[in-house]
Symmetry: C4
Subunit: 333 residues, 4 copies
């Protein structure tokens, strides 16, 4: 067994260098440019890293003659009386991510918290004060064009019924996180009903509940591929290098982010960020890739100004701007 | 049909270049100074852009021997239990806009939110906990000199009666926004009772409900002119280039602002800003023009420090100061 | 009648130049140094301006081997259900002003607001949820060494009784502001029971209720002098140049501050600031003078970084530090 | 009796120079380096100062392939209806200190406050709305690996029973502060049941209640040594130079911090900071020493940017990052 001090990787990082299990064997990693051309058309390459050049091109200019309708109207179904924070973090991220309007369907206490911390959010109150129990679709704004669910929802029986109702009702791609993933894991037959190109954002433990325990890191990647292909979904497998798997099986390793982001609520922010991009009209693949990349870029921007140990999830939406500016100026790497 | 790469406009921007429908045909726009003198007396020119030189002159110095009474006492009638955020945004903008005192008439939950987020505001509580149902004029401070209504009010039957009561009671120009505009659209006979020089701030959809669907952008401008003249009001038609129409029919295109401001709550901030200027004693025309110009200048100041995609409405009052400083230093354009 | 473009004042500003009524006649004011020596011993001079040199000397270094007890424990009696903001502003100012501990006696809703906005404050809850109705002295911490009352208290009958109870119980100098001043004006016999060297902080209208309507600005100064001497109190008469009158009749014109501070809640901040200094052991005269000077210095520090129009009272405690640093570095004038 | 203007101390500060009682006799203190080597192995030295070199080495890098589980899950038992602030300050410090997850067991009003001020925290609600009355261990997350208790708890009978329950249940070192110390002082037989290497953080008065009144500063140090040895605990005796006593009797004087930190809530922040380090897997001795050192370093970082008089406890977690950066860059001394 070799434990390398330094590893040279030809033209791009090989998959093996990006996996947690190998982190102990890969010392300082340097990518050596030997002049290979990487086509913009990535269709023939199975596993790639997300790089700033490509991500920056995905970032759309905001049209001048826009109004808030131009940037979409997202619905976030999140939070319960005992877990209000996750909904707040996701909502802030959605607003800071550039969405036109955000409606949050949640319980009273979450809405009271939002009134104070995010006056820009529109409230859609559940009848139940403890947990989300029913969505009255008729009273929702008509122009909602993207839906995310999961952060802080809990898994009460009535909330499970709400999730089923959403699957029956919403035909556009969903963003599914946290307790919504747990509800899916408990009701695996529902996987077949997910709108195509829905974006699921599990961490390792949540993915195991969905797709079984992998034998090693490569097997986890393989399971992710099979899962995304089988259910025609986009799988965002969160980790140090978050891996995005598209329905065609291609896999993308994220290259932004740092260990300071391994902190409670970080994932809720990502959910809000992806919802935001989806509502703004980004195709689901771009919403997932760009969301993950920007989320990490925000964390890296924080780490440039601060010691990363001190990062808390609330910092991330506040650093979206610096993360985007770093991308634009290519100062970021 | 010509799609121009570059457009030269003689001395000032022609109206056609400022309309959304033409945005696809106008490439880079350059204004060519051929030495025409624009008189300060604008009476003979029908459509003008708001420029920094003129706006800066409207901005009054704050007299040294002032006390908070010098800067007026505004009343904001806004908010309901399910929409507390709009009232908070408008109230913050009013305070940051330089008003001496602000009283907010609203429901209990809005006042509780204000206690936390804007301790400077004075509360005037409605008896109803869900929505604004009645204003007890006797218990209001006597020195109130400007009134705005609309943000987050809802359109409950009793709230509609409150609006009628305000029209019957208040003789000074009102600022009317959001749900108050919707109530007006439902009760068009009330338009005749608006105090002269009231300021209405509809976006395109709200204006359609008030004045019918225009055939094109020029027709919208024409309808705005007729509306302002007929009801002797100032119409602030919100869009990329917000257009202010005075009761004499003159129209002013705003030149500040950016697409980052196309975000929920941005309009509530404008309402608070205009109320603030009105209470400070600015004539209604100046309050409307300066309010719109400063609102956009604040957004532009945000965009100089940040990526504009990340702007949320709460940022605007915090950037009023930078917007004003940019105006003063003429750094802003 | 001469309206001067420029006024030269020999060695220091003459009183007449500092009065509001004369502000229209005094243009640009320049103080000409002709080499007169102003003694540190001010006893023989009746009216003086507060200058940075003297104020800086009053500012005590914070001893190294200090603990929070060293910096006193203040009691703030303030706020009611309908006016929670004033108590919050005064409390923040007290904490930012350097006090060791602060206990706030108030109603439940004010304490809930403080929990969110100033977790450092200790709560002492009134039994009544609407307004302050009774202070249980036995349950208060024993080490309280300074008391302020008034901001947002209201003037309910039971609150009036609490004020009387405080006058009967507290033997150290009180800070009295806002509604506490109004209660005094309604119960002028209580003036005789004020602990000597109590600090009263009326604005012009509040002072009129206490001491009658003055014929002009000079008469107001004369009434202030008589009032302070008669009741052995320190009178802080708030205005553009706030005037501090000591029990020996000497009067000091403040020279810090700006028109941006003419905004709701500014006075509540001053009350908290003076309470803070009193609790830290400053003699009442110094607490009053230094409090007023620092309050204005904070406003001036804000105005150096921002357009002063946008100042709200919450900004002032956040600028205490910059105000003090400017004093120390003498950058401030 | 000599009152020195300047004191030279050979190679390191002698204990006598660090004690409050002697502060009046020690003027400017200079440490003279005579080339003595201080071994990293401190076992033979009884009393030492904490210096940046050693503390910086204790600070662990954050591993790249980390997830939030890597950084532990702390439980904070704190707060009651009348004292919500202390729990909030401790919780913020724990999160900013780099912990992976934090669960707060407290009453409803504290949790509502946390939802607004720290959405990252997980709530574990007590059945009682006034004070902590019972912990349902079964409903707590299983991965909790560090527990702190005390800030703002109160000493209600049922809360005392909760403390006993914690002592009976938790086998890992506890962080014990504030009211938990007072409960220990009232129940001294419980001292024998403290998990070894628990960290107690009394100020002088709290320590007196635990270990009796010392005759002088040296006797206090001696009592601290005996206490730590007898109960196998780490004693953090808070003061200008906080002294950490290890179970083997060695004592460490902290060298960071300033008089601005003598303010309400400062100790609650320290409790959260130590809990954070403990949960991240630092050995209890390092958690105590590093926590105290960083707490002071944060205060010193505040004092570099601001006048230290204006420091409030909420500032400290926000300055953790600057404190750590100063340590890393050795800019700090």
């Amino acid at each position: 067994m070799v434990i390398a001090d330094k590893v040279l990787s030809i033209q791009f990082q090989k998959t093996a260098f990006l996996l947690p299990e190998n982190s102990g064997y890969v010392g300082e990693l340097e990518v050596v440019d030997i002049g290979m051309e990487l086509s913009d058309n990535l269709e023939n390459i199975e596993r790639m890293t997300l790089e700033n050049d490509g991500m920056r091109r995905q970032l759309r200019p905001r049209p001048r003659y826009a109004h808030k309708g131009t940037f979409g109207h997202g619905l976030l179904v999140a939070g319960c009386d005992r877990m209000p924070g996750a909904a707040v973090l996701a909502a802030k991220a959605a607003m800071r991510g550039g969405i036109g309007k955000l409606t949050v369907h949640s319980v009273k206490s979450v809405c009271q918290t939002l009134a104070i911390t995010l006056p820009e959010a529109i409230h859609h109150l559940d009848d139940n004060e403890q947990y989300v129990s029913r969505i009255d679709w008729n009273s929702l704004p008509e122009n909602i064009n993207a839906v995310a669910l999961g952060p802080g929802l809990g898994t009460q029986k009535q909330t499970v019924a709400v999730m089923k109702d959403i699957l029956d009702t919403v035909k556009t791609p969903l963003v599914i996180d946290a307790d919504a993933l747990n509800m899916l894991a408990e009701n695996k037959t529902w996987l077949a009903f997910l709108p195509p190109y829905s974006i699921l954002t599990p961490h390792f433990a949540e993915f195991e509940r969905l797709a079984g325990k992998p034998s090693d890191d490569f097997d986890r990647l393989e399971r992710a591929k099979q899962f995304a292909q089988r259910y025609t979904v986009i799988l965002v497998l969160k980790g140090h290098h978050t891996v995005i798997t598209l329905p065609d099986g291609r896999q993308f390793f994220n290259t932004t982010g740092n260990a300071g982001m391994a902190t409670a609520g970080s994932g809720d922010v990502l959910t809000g960020q992806i919802l935001s991009l989806l509502a703004q009209g980004y195709p689901p693949e771009h919403a997932a890739m760009l969301g993950v990349f920007l989320h990490g870029a925000a964390g890296d921007a924080y780490a440039r100004d601060n010691d990363p140990r001190t990062l808390i999830a609330s910092d991330l939406p506040e650093y979206f701007s610096n993360g985007i500016l770093a991308m634009k100026n290519d100062e970021w790497r």
